[in-house]
């Protein structure tokens, strides 16, 4: 690694709260590498999070950081970004954060297309509260609120984001550091709302309750339960009979960005008011 990413870490706030073997640390390392690669000005980066294990990420990051309420990170981030569009606003959410309690904010952020980078740390379970079922828990998987296996279909967040209109949508796993870094850089550079669904591992709850094994085995589980989208049958993670979840960039399209439209509206209104006087 060429970048000394420790300059992005609040060393005074270590140790972090994550369990040994948690995938979140790997995701954060890829994020920091991507921020370093892109040469973002440290003071101009804002990381906004919600609640849950992923929500604890900003504590250890030496940027402007905002740990908000459960599910609302995107709404807070919209305010930060619109008040100062020079800021790079990166939003970190858990899967429950983004798709259960924050589902409404998520779909509207996709639709509105304000330039925010949304990273979903998707471990398919509620970790911080002790392993309950999430909207992303694969059908049949055990959690503390579905001991006999989940009877609900799981949310495919890529398809949700695509359907709601997000311009950049990708999925990767915390197994694949190189792919994560690449997708994070593309997402941060995208001139509009960008989503990366990062499938990650929770050895403490998801792993133990589903007999996947040790953290090392969970990494293999991530590797073996996903595949590049072009070799998967169909573009869906949880289609009946589908045994592997597709990864890749599912959309990269530029359309009118909300912040830019907002600026143009203000410029036009200021000009008109000036003429009127």
């Amino acid at each position: 690694m060429s970048e000394d990413y420790r300059r992005f870490i609040r060393l005074s706030q270590l140790p972090h709260v994550w369990c040994p073997g948690c995938g979140n640390g790997t995701i954060v390392k890829a994020l920091l590498q991507s921020i370093g690669d892109l040469g973002l000005v440290q003071d101009q980066v804002v990381v906004v999070s919600g609640i849950g294990c992923s929500g604890r990420t900003p504590f250890v990051l030496d940027f402007n950081t905002m740990h908000t309420t459960h599910g609302r990170a995107l709404a807070f981030a919209a305010g930060v970004k619109l008040a100062n569009q020079a800021l790079h606003v990166i939003v970190i959410m858990g899967d429950g954060d983004a798709s259960a309690i924050g589902g409404n904010h998520f779909i509207h952020a996709c639709r509105r297309n304000l330039k925010l980078t949304a990273l979903i740390f998707n471990n398919g379970i509620y970790g911080l509260t002790g392993g309950q079922q999430a909207p992303t828990t694969p059908t049949g998987k055990r959690t503390t609120t579905s001991l006999a296996g989940s009877i609900e279909p799981a949310f495919d967040l890529v398809r949700l984001a695509l359907g709601a209109g997000a311009g950049f949508v990708a999925r990767t796993t915390s197994f694949d550091h190189k792919q994560m870094t690449s997708y994070f850089s593309q997402a941060i550079s995208h001139p509009g709302f960008a989503v990366v669904d990062v499938i990650t591992s929770c050895p403490t709850y998801f792993g133990r309750m589903n007999d996947v094994g040790e953290p090392y085995d969970l990494l293999h589980y991530l590797r073996d339960s996903t595949a590049p989208r072009d070799v998967c049958s169909g573009d869906t993670a949880f289609a009946p009979g589908a045994d592997r979840m597709p990864t890749g960039v599912f959309r990269c399209e530029t359309r009118d960005e909300y912040g830019d439209l907002c600026r143009r509206k203000i410029e036009a209104a200021v000009e008109k008011a000036g003429v009127a006087v």
Partner: protein
């Protein structure tokens, strides 16, 4: 700009916000507050400000808090159902000491209730609505010009003390039109949030100085219990920080108390009212005086922190204190506590969606209390 203008309460609120320098509004439509957002949608862009219609009230308050940390002066307006949803964000604004103004045009009843009927039923919710002990300032207004002034004051207090300020309006005030004298630029003081002398080493929760993101420092903001640097604390440190936050409001009761008195000096009968009800209450004072009853009015514009000293003083000189409200008796409990037995305190409720009339208030002041109608 004309010196006199015929405008409605919601318009006075929106224009008062602009006078105060508000440059970010996020909101969600709801009766009877929607004109505030409609006017700001129209007026904000030409002044360089941002207007955004969010997907719900939770998003609206979250967005204004985010924008405040982005450096903006921020407002949202709503009514009961939306105000309930905003409680989560109000708590976050309180613990993160975020300057922001929330306007609640009160309407009748719980849930959907009667959206087009005025009420004063959200007083206790405004003070105590979000969970946990927390600082908040609650203001109200009783006419259109007062709405303009109190909106500016709400911003001034939010900015000066880094605290969420709630302005309680009501449906009648929101939609009532009055001809008001327009304040000239600079006529009303506008307060800006204090900046630290040096951005480096800025501690985000170490006093009233405020620095937005991207202004030369890097720091952490969280809804968890935190110390001056923004990082989590527990035990005695958490208690100390909570006490400091609440103290910002509770140690300034006299300074924050905004009120008017009307013929109160020699009053045996003190009417204590607030908001729209202060209008018929003032007329009731005149009616009673005409009948030879020495009545007076204490009109409270700051409902929280509660100005005990004003009530205590009025109670010491009065035999009876009447508290008319468009609810089943909310602020009267604070009044009775502050009066501390110095005089009789009598509630007067009206909850049919209509205003109390001067005659009803005057009658209640001189009619012996029915059994069971006291506190």
């Amino acid at each position: 700009m004309k010196a006199q203008r015929l405008i409605q309460g919601n318009e006075a609120c929106a224009l008062g916000a602009l006078y105060a320098g508000c440059n970010f509004y996020a909101g969600y439509p709801i009766t009877p507050s929607s004109e505030v957002m409609e006017i700001l949608a129209q007026e904000m862009p030409s002044r360089g400000g941002v207007f955004i219609q969010m997907e719900d009230e939770i998003a609206s308050i979250s967005a204004i808090i985010g924008a405040s940390w982005g450096g903006a002066k921020v407002l949202t307006a709503t009514s009961g159902p939306g105000f309930s949803l905003m409680q989560e964000g109000i708590g976050y604004a309180a613990i993160t000491e975020t300057p922001c103004v929330i306007v609640n045009c009160q309407r009748w009843g719980p849930s959907t209730g009667q959206p087009t009927k005025g009420a004063q039923g959200d007083v206790m919710q405004a003070i105590w609505g979000t969970h946990g002990d927390h600082p908040v300032i609650v203001l109200t207004a009783s006419d259109v010009r007062d709405t303009f002034d109190m909106t500016v004051r709400a911003f001034n207090l939010a900015e000066a003390y880094r605290v969420p300020v709630i302005l309680l309006m009501d449906e009648v005030l929101a939609h009532m039109r009055e001809n008001i004298r327009w304040p000239a630029p600079g006529e009303i003081e506008v307060v800006e949030r204090a900046r630290p002398s040096e951005p480096r080493g800025f501690k985000p929760f170490d006093g009233e100085a405020f620095l937005p993101f991207g202004a030369g420092a890097r720091f952490h903001v969280t809804g968890l219990a935190h110390g001056p640097e923004g990082f989590a604390v527990a035990d005695e440190a958490a208690a100390r920080e909570l006490k400091r936050m609440v103290g910002k409001v509770q140690n300034r009761v006299e300074e924050l108390a905004c009120f008017t008195r009307y013929r109160l000096d020699d009053a045996d009968l003190a009417i204590v009212s607030y908001g729209i009800t202060s209008r018929p209450a003032q007329s009731a004072v005149d009616l009673l005086r005409d009948k030879g009853v020495k009545a007076g009015l204490l009109n409270l514009k700051t409902l929280w922190p509660f100005p005990d000293h004003l009530v205590r003083e009025a109670a010491a000189n009065a035999d009876l204190m009447l508290v008319p409200e468009l609810n089943m008796g909310q602020l009267v409990r604070e009044v009775a506590r502050a009066a501390g037995g110095r005089c009789e305190v009598r509630p007067l409720s009206r909850i049919d969606g209509h205003l109390l009339t001067p005659g009803q208030i005057a009658d209640a002041a001189v009619t012996p209390v029915r059994e069971g109608a006291t506190l």
